[in-house]
């Protein structure tokens, strides 16, 4: 293969990877198979964080993660505007057990838990305000399906 063909292939690969990566950034998805493997309320209280009565954005961040700070601002603003919802940022260095149990592979990873500590949605990568709202919507949907979820009123 001539070098110029190789380079053209690399550029094409870069564009494809970039498109896939960008489309997945911050996308809100359903909780994975590990939902239920983590007692989020106990974990949060251990870390000195009082979970929100309606829900909590649990953001796992790292020092080597550039978009974590912007995501923290977006989520803090979304939590401020949603009564009963709080945002908390946990450092992966300080919570290796939690990172393993929740199978967190990238930062930022945001786990949306409801008032009962159940994971209702998850997102990895920098989040936009619209994606934060999508995560909050998962909270509402989960609560209406759950007959005991009267705490969301």
């Amino acid at each position: 293969m001539s070098p110029s063909v190789t380079l053209a292939g690399l550029v094409l690969l870069t564009v494809l990877l970039g498109l896939v990566w960008r489309s997945r950034q911050g996308a809100v998805r359903d909780p994975g198979p590990t939902a239920g493997a983590v007692d989020w309320l106990a974990r949060l209280r251990e870390s000195g964080v009082e979970p929100g009565p309606r829900g909590t954005f649990v953001q796992l961040s790292a020092a080597v993660c550039a978009p974590c700070r912007a995501t923290a601002r977006v989520l803090a603003a979304a939590a401020d505007a949603a009564p009963g919802v709080v945002h908390t940022e946990l450092d992966v260095e300080a919570h290796p057990g939690l990172v393993r149990a929740a199978r967190v592979l990238r930062t930022p990873t945001v786990v949306m838990i409801d008032g009962d500590g159940t994971e209702v949605a998850r997102s990895s990568g920098a989040m936009t305000p619209a994606q934060a709202q999508a995560a909050l919507a998962a909270l509402g949907a989960g609560a209406t399906q759950d007959p005991t979820g009267g705490r969301t009123a």
């Binding site: 070098p3 110029s4 190789t6 380079l7 690399l10 550029v11 690969l13 870069t14 990877l17 970039g18 990566w21 960008r22 870390s47 000195g48 964080v49 009082e50 961040s61 790292a62 020092a63 080597v64 993660c65 550039a66 978009p67 974590c68 700070r69 923290a72 989520l75 803090a76 939590a79 401020d80 709080v86 945002h87 908390t88 940022e89 946990l90 450092d91 992966v92 260095e93 300080a94 290796p96 057990g97 990172v99 967190v104 592979l105 990238r106 930062t107 930022p108 990568g125």
Partner: protein
């Protein structure tokens, strides 16, 4: 409301985030030239230059490389002061990843496996180009995966 339990204290002084991205663009161009030069001594020489730049960025910080100097001297005066400063640790981690990838290419090329030079340059090119164009953060994607590879004792 945000409750932070860790980390926000003791952050190093911020740098202009556009600097490392500009540097990644310059590096991507150089790596593309390495690929074009193919398996040759000229390619090995240029890849060595890129690897030394990554070494500098890993040891001293991404803003203290020659690409950082070019950005401050020629680019920043034209684009104005930064709106926001960013933590230098994420781009520094990325410089370390670049050092490992290009370093492997340089070492293999030096011991006669010259075919490894364009390969190493190609892998580093994809990462540098994604960083420059989309702001891909290698620390975000790789840090936890690399931690998992470490023995359990090191990761507590």
């Amino acid at each position: 409301m945000t409750q932070t339990t860790q980390d926000t204290h003791g952050r190093p002084a911020g740098i202009d985030a556009r600097g490392p991205r500009f540097g990644a663009g310059v590096t991507a161009v150089l790596l593309a030239v390495v690929v074009l030069l193919g398996a040759s001594t000229a390619a090995l020489a240029l890849l060595t230059l890129v690897a030394v730049s990554f070494l500098l960025g890993t040891l001293a910080g991404p803003h203290r490389t020659w690409q950082g100097w070019v950005f401050r001297r020629f680019v920043r005066p034209r684009v104005g002061p930064p709106v926001e400063l960013e933590d230098p640790r994420p781009p520094r981690f990325a410089q370390g990843v670049g050092l490992v990838v290009t370093g492997v290419g340089v070492v293999l090329g030096s011991v006669g496996v010259i075919g490894a030079v364009p390969w190493a340059a190609g892998i580093a090119f994809v990462a540098a180009a994604l960083n420059a164009t989309l702001g891909l953060c290698l620390g975000c994607e790789m840090y936890l995966l690399l931690r998992r590879l470490r023995p359990a004792s090191a990761g507590r």
